[in-house]
Subunit: 423 residues, 4 copies
């Protein structure tokens, strides 16, 4: 008795733009087919869990399981039929009953309601997609850490409000990126461990039609699906969805910050870093000699979108009584898009950081170009005269120590420094 | 020489959920295929416009035009290739050059930049989709007006903060819906007339590669495409996009208000209206006797989503210099979704209002159930005693006059009452 | 009998941050005192309008009018009392009745409901504040136009995706700013003329307690307040509020774009423009030699905030039945903040553009620094060899013509070029 | 040597509306005065930490500490002066230097930059305010738990999509509220423990002007202020701010859900619960007999606002290089408003739940009114005939068990059920 969690089908939908802003793997893991398979995994696992409890004949559960393969269903047809009931579950269950055969039909979807299927499917799609995202975040982190290590002492000018300020190191900047990515990964891991949970409550959230066997079925089903077991159904309590959305927006945002920095440092007039070279990467449709920060542009676009998308669910937690007309329905496309934005950003940030070209010479020259200006503070501190030579490498303060703290965190996996004792 | 604006292909993408929340016609008009066709319409029309100016051989323009049919292109493949350049235009132009043939290749995309193609395509997609939306808004308005007229004197209790207040009429409520829909239609018409404009500026917004012929090409191209001719390119001035997004969000919002009202009035305990009956409409996956407000739920979902989606573009107008890395890229999916939300809502609002079942008897009974309470104000006004009969129909104030004003507006097409003279 | 529209009191609230992000005039026009005065103007004008209809004794109306001065009321106390009823009108009316005296008390607020007062006050506050904003937008436009005219032929390099592309002129960039500001002004003027309207409907939106005199009172009151007269009350139809919010967000956004450009062009490595010099302007708390783009930072901050603020009202149009519990209440602070953001941005944009320092020499040098690169397209066009001199001034395409079109629009006040005839 | 964390001054700003939507305590803790005091606490603690390191004379640190009292400063004047530098720190430091005296002036703000002060102040304001919020959340939770316990078996009809479905209990609904509030409290506690951290990096984030003593000063200062000690400065890494904003929006959202439910259950036609009675609570300005769900309205308003406010920071994480012009500045008012919304909602939810009036008889009657309908599922399950009596109390499934699980969580403080083991 093992869950039928076949890999999501490879085809993607909404390909023209989705394919630009997310990775192929995430596009597949959030495709219509992946959603359908997640719903069917729920139905198959439910039948098996109910078989274990004696509510369904094991042979019937096997028939249902066998019928629960997404590749025979047409997402568009299901969507259109779903308009009548406001969700795709009703036609899906009807089709599944037909496919499972007369004998099994009555045992399909036993005790469940549409929202059980869709919420659990959302959690499964999120679980599978965030696994990809977490892996990409770790790759991105490793790359940022490698940059921080390699450039621990590479001089660069700090720019505040886009004006040159004092010397810093490129390593410190990369350490900042790495630290944010580690924060994001921890938060996403926490969401994966605590917030991705089974939904099963039946029509009224009481599991009435399972009589007293509800808790038993829930526990078995959660184990089958590898989802958490919440204390009670959460049909109209959207904390979990909001925690997921917030974590995904933070991932997009942290990657957007990297994109912003790279796009700025890659400006023609600055030229301190460059996106990784690839055949055709960064090309312009008119100016063949131009090299555009296209990965950065995608990171920035996903970041801008993520804020507004997250607002949709954060501002719509007021789900009415036992099931909301509208606030619930607004989640499906929104979370799909948030998963794609975060997933695309994590994957492309890994690619960007992994191949980032750093021009330490240009950094040094840019720093020295206005050296007299940026070192005014140092001179004041040291009592040196305007005419005297000032060495920017001698005015880096704790930059190295900060880089080392991040490297240490990465090496030990330790959480950020414990907060001070609070009175 | 006529524009090659073939109808958008019928297939849709992202079908599982899109098909629920928007109409088939709008799904098609905003599909990957529709976007591709709009981009190709731009390229074909550009070649023809340049032929008229003598910049391109007319025979070559005909070859290009013939090649500009979306059905041979693969959106997913273009999207994936587009990731390298940050947009799908570069691979599309490359493929188009190949398809147009060696002789014509050099004249494809002449003088244009990627953003010219995508912005103009957005405007074309918006033009075609808002035509559908405007038609559905007019259908919805007609239905609301018919309800207002038929129920001009149908008594209903007004509910403020969800508490019964004083008597009103169902006609006044419907007149409010109709008036909002007329406002939306006017605003959308204004956007269609003023904001949907050609984008053509070339790599730097100067049309340098067209030498002095730029203005001439722009004028001809705008006419070819049926788009407005703006005073200058607007690559990083997003007023038009924001005007469109705001108008679409307002459409979704006005329809969401209708959905909210209907869902509330359709509550089991209220039962004053009912969504139109249809085979399978409003069914539950578990409770077959239940009739859910599913059209209302979809209207509410679209309305909630529209706010966050609009925020993405409204908060991202700070496009950098001549072309933004990110803020521009964030628009394509967002506007597609806004068109779908507004289009779905307009279409479903028309369906909802066109078939709304009104239970005037239940309205009367609900009003009378707490009649003593709701008429306390009337009694105070009339000096009547608590025990005396008070007739709610005698306490409707100007409800009828307000309904008539809306009917008059609908009949005459007159703009809302002119504002008072301002000192 | 003239309206008691005394200037809003000068004190501001929330001063620490509000004073940074908005102008003193707008802070005053949106202060607690200004809101209170607007509510009181409504009550005073209502009494006078009802006096004209014979519903209130003219002497009583005069007493009420005399009592309607904000300076005697305590906003915090009213707010705290207002928590009980969910809005500040109930305690305000109670206090006003007391202040107007025993004889007049019964005629205060006659026929109106709390939302009549607050919605009309919002419209009055918006009317007064947008008058300031429109004036600042015109100042900003004039300054942008002056820059466009003065620098019509000042060479600058265009930067797309933050990479140098082809030559353009600083005049074309300034013309783009000016054109957006003119669009904003027109939209705001339209909102002022069409959307700022009286709210008067009474408890149920029927004006029942005014018997048949409702329409007459409404017309007189609208004229008194200088607000538009809508066909019917709009308590739960928020098109007007959303139109206002959208227009304000667009103002913030267009100014944010100017801020983005100036901050980028003012970078140490670019140095092509500089914010106007002022004692202390742009200072750093640590680096006295630094000059920060602080006006730009404020414009960008307001722009980022405006998107999320607008989303609140755009996503909350689903007001329940005759009066919403919550969606309505969410508007007051949100619109206040949007007025402040737009007003601050318009005022500071005028200041920024009016004093912008332009370094044409640096523009020329930056262009030439990578001249070989940016002119590759030109050479290809002209058939020139890499070694040959290419004159960027000879590759400006229609830049001058575009600038002239904007200057013409400014001079004639003509709307943007008429759209092409639509089939 | 103990921190001078005097209670924030009691006066509030923006009182007219703020006083409605938040509690007096939260208004005070987020007032201009509280912000100023937090900034001054930072400056005083910095001086003392530097005294401990030998960088500042202890007597001078005492002078600075003595001068760091907010009550002598004028927020509006500081805000206006702050417009020149884009933040209020520059004039505040100047004024503080003057107040501390000639001898101490040079030691004020030593090594810090404006963002160090403002970010740390934000963290302090957040720490102090979230302490209030957490306490209110616990009060609200206790009240919800008490309702769940008292009404564990009180029959009520479940309503899905606002239609009556099957029987449930009011206890299960209250348990759902309680569970969400416990989730919120845990998340807020985690933010308090992990995300509220010191900011200290100096002009470039390297603490260069403190030479090698930076890390030592940071550790002492974090301990002084009771804030966490992060591995490195986070001037342009806004994970902490976003974590805070997300947690606050979730608090507002969970309370908004309670408000939504109460407003719906309190409808005239439903009448199953009622907001706590209080003199003047829920009054209408026109209908004295009416009792409005005003606490619910405020909860719903805060919830709607919180989504859009959170979007501002979630969509603006792309802070430029070492300090952002604009994205940073957009946070101050936004976080203030989010603290107020969450704080108001937590406090008012506690008040609402603590005094909620539950009408079990009306619940029973509403359930029975459509009993034939809602029990169709039960009859099918039991094989009973339409005519036979069906007892809703016999069809509650696991409702009681779910309530018990939440009561157990509340009693033991245990985290939600551990997720199933993941393969």
């Amino acid at each position: 008795l093992c869950p039928e969690q076949v890999p999501a089908p490879a085809e993607t939908d909404g390909g023209l733009f989705t394919s630009i802003f997310t990775t192929d793997a995430v596009a597949a893991a959030t495709s219509d087919g992946a959603w359908l398979q997640a719903m069917l995994d729920f139905e198959a696992s439910l039948a098996r869990a109910e078989a274990l409890c004696g509510l369904v004949d094991p042979a019937v559960a096997a028939l249902i399981t066998a019928a629960c393969r997404a590749d025979g269903f047409d997402p568009v047809a299901l969507g259109r039929s779903g308009r009548l009931g406001g969700n795709p579950v009703i036609p899906l269950v009807a089709a599944l009953r037909q496919r499972a055969g007369h004998e099994a039909a009555g045992s399909v979807h036993l005790g469940a309601t549409s929202q059980d299927v869709l919420d659990s499917a959302l959690m499964l799609v999120a679980k599978r997609t965030t696994e990809l995202i977490a892996a990409d975040l770790r790759r991105a982190t490793d790359a940022a850490v490698a940059l921080a290590e390699a450039h621990r002492d590479t001089l660069q000018v700090a720019r505040t409000l886009l004006q040159q300020a004092l010397p810093t190191t490129f390593g410190l900047r990369a350490a900042g990126w790495a630290n944010a990515l580690m924060d994001d990964t921890e938060r996403l891991d926490r969401v994966r461990a605590h917030d991705l949970a089974l939904q099963l409550g039946g029509a009224a959230g009481t599991l009435a039609s399972l009589a007293g066997r509800g808790p038993e079925v829930r526990a078995l089903l959660a184990a089958e699906l590898g989802l958490g077991l919440p204390p009670l159904p959460w049909h109209s309590d959207r904390q979990r969805v909001v925690a997921l959305a917030s974590a995904l927006a933070a991932v997009s945002g942290a990657c957007g910050k990297i994109g912003r920095d790279v796009a700025l440092l890659m400006q023609t007039e600055v030229g301190e870093v460059s996106e990784p070279a690839a055949e055709g990467r960064g090309a312009s449709s008119t100016l063949p000699q131009k090299r555009n920060p296209v990965l950065s542009a995608i990171l920035l676009a996903n970041s801008r979108r993520a804020g507004g998308l997250a607002a949709i669910v954060l501002g719509s937690m007021d789900h009415e009584l036992e099931r909301s007309p509208g606030a619930w329905h607004a989640e499906w496309q929104t979370l799909t898009d948030l998963l794609r934005a975060a997933g695309g950003s994590a994957g492309l940030a890994a690619e960007l950081l992994g191949g980032l070209e750093v021009d330490a010479g240009r950094m040094r020259r840019n720093l020295e170009a206005s050296g007299g200006l940026v070192l005014a503070e140092q001179r004041a501190a040291l009592g040196a005269e305007p005419g005297e030579t000032a060495d920017p490498a001698g005015y880096l303060g704790s930059a190295g120590a900060f880089v080392d703290a991040v490297l240490e965190r990465h090496r030990t996996g330790a959480a950020p420094a414990a907060p001070a004792a609070q009175p």
